[in-house]
Amino acid sequence: MVRPNLQLQFAHSPVLPYGLGGTSFAIALGLALLAERYGFRNVEVPLFLFAITLTVWYAGSGPAILAVVLSSSAFDYFFTEPRYSFYVTRSELPNYAVFVLFALLLTWFATVRRRIEADLLQARDKLEIEVKERTQQASLLNLTHDTIFVRDMSDVITYWNRGAQELYGWTAEDAIGKNSQQLLQTVFPVAIDDIRAELLRTDRWEGELKKTRADGTHVVVASRWSLRRDEQGRAVAILDTNNDITERKRREQEIESLNQELAKRSTELESTNKELEAFAYSVSHDLRAPLRHMAGYTELLQKKESSGLDQKSNHYILMMLESAKRMGNLIDDLLAFSRIGRSETQKTMVSLEQLVREALAEVRQDTEGRNIVWTIGALPDFYGDRSMVRLVLVNLISNAIKFTRTRAHAEIEIGCANGDKDTLVVFVRDNGVGFDMKYVNKLFGVFQRLHQSDEFEGTGIGLATVQRIIHRHGGKVWAEGMVDSGATFYFSAPRPEGQIWRA
């Protein structure tokens, strides 16, 4: 759109415009002299004025002034009496003055005209640039995949971008000029009057709207409205930006229904837990009572008849009492085991070294008369339920004491094994009777025992309890052993945040 501009071209060099002034003057003078020679009189004035006009038109005011000066001098010299002299007689003076005045007037008039035309041109160029920018902006709006459309205050669509076409399926030709709420069958969450009131008050509105596409499917959009006002502050248009949130809404609903399901499940679980608790309570109370009675009456019988009973009968009574006691222990252990599953863990930072000391104090009476070499390494802090972790250590340590009973020199080591930066690993190692790795997966099951009960007593719940506690702490338990060569029990747990790990 570059328009050739003569004035601008001449302006770059002063020679050309002044040359044009000089040349047009010279041609006018030549023509006037020629015309005079052939008897045509009084053509010089229009010729000079024409030359001046030509100069002012194409070369600007400077060269025009030059042309005026040259023309008036030549007019005086060649065409006013006395001829061939610059002297002007009194009678010719008005003629001459009128010519000069006319020439100057013409120059001034042409200059003004030129300026007005230049202004007009400039204004047009500015307008063109602006139109170009606007067009670019509009096409930028068109580039975005966001849905943008503009409607006037009676909801008639005036602009419709590509995003709008993609979302709603209507082209700009379809949409522009239509009522947007009718075209898109907008469903408002609240009264439209309230929305309009808010829009007019705050110049904006945001909300979720349900709309219908060209193909009849529904879409939920997050809609933002911005009000445009004219210079007088009157509301003239609404810029409507829409984002498709159908998928998000669907996921939200999915999450909500999942949450409801979860809540239902956890209520069920809670009631199951309550039942279990009631069951455990009954076991605690109702199973122990008859057991106590059996033991009580057996003992009374023993007391009453001890002198009259033979050795075998006394042995039977002893076995009955022992069995009752064993069942009592079983019930107690089972209850403790079930309690771990039911009670909340109260996690704090606990010092494993402190807990090991406490556990050792608790099992001290089992070590009386024994020759045990203890090796206790440096132990890290542990994030867990203090009493539960203590129970883990008590169980593992008393196991180690129990299964080294046949050793003249028992060795028990407690330490921290190589974990990694996220996990800490603690082990309890003994040089006791060990176990066959073939049965390693049975070790941690409830009531699973790898030794005959007359060899090593126990209910078979201790390691199950250990496993249950460690699982509740997000860790693992495992063991390594060999028949007659000792055993090592490991448990791992997530390392507390910020704990420094050294390999």
Partner: protein, 152 residues
């Protein structure tokens, strides 16, 4: 006997006849059984304490100690405990919960209601007899019961 004169009355609330028999046997061994009143459920125990129902005609006075089982027909042990400890006349009676249950929540609930002691009945009879004996000797003989208790 001097000590017999100071023996306080023991109110036992226990629904299981075998437990009653074993407890009485244990108390008998230490000559503490004479002043034991046995009630078989919570309602009966409260009737006794309030001198009403079948105990309308009993001579008044509070027991020196009450051995209370928690799992009882009609009115359970915790409810009996609650009523006693919120009654101006009865709240001074020392109450010992004697139960099979090792449940922590029962223990906490009992102490919150103001129980004076909480004893879990041991399965082992020796231990059971010892526990009963020590309870009987402590509460019925050694302890000075509150004024108004029945003593012999």
């Amino acid at each position: 006997m001097e000590s017999m004169n100071k023996l306080g009355r023991i109110l036992m609330v226990e629904d299981d006849p075998k437990d009653v028999e074993l407890t009485l046997t244990a108390l008998e061994e230490y000559n503490l059984a004479n002043e034991v009143v046995v009630t078989r459920d919570g309602e009966q125990a409260l009737d006794y304490l309030h001198c009403r129902g079948e105990y309308k005609t009993r001579s008044g006075g509070n027991p020196a100690v009450m051995l209370l089982d928690l799992k009882l027909p009609k009115v359970d042990g915790l409810e009996v405990l609650k009523q006693i400890k919120s009654d101006g006349e009865l709240r001074m009676i020392p109450v010992v919960v004697l139960t099979s249950s090792k449940e922590e929540k029962d223990m906490v609930a009992s102490y919150k209601l103001g129980v004076n002691a909480y004893v879990v009945k041991p399965v082992d009879f020796h231990e059971f007899v010892n526990a009963i004996k020590e309870l009987g000797v402590f509460w019925a003989v050694i302890n000075e019961p509150p004024p108004g208790s029945v003593r012999k």
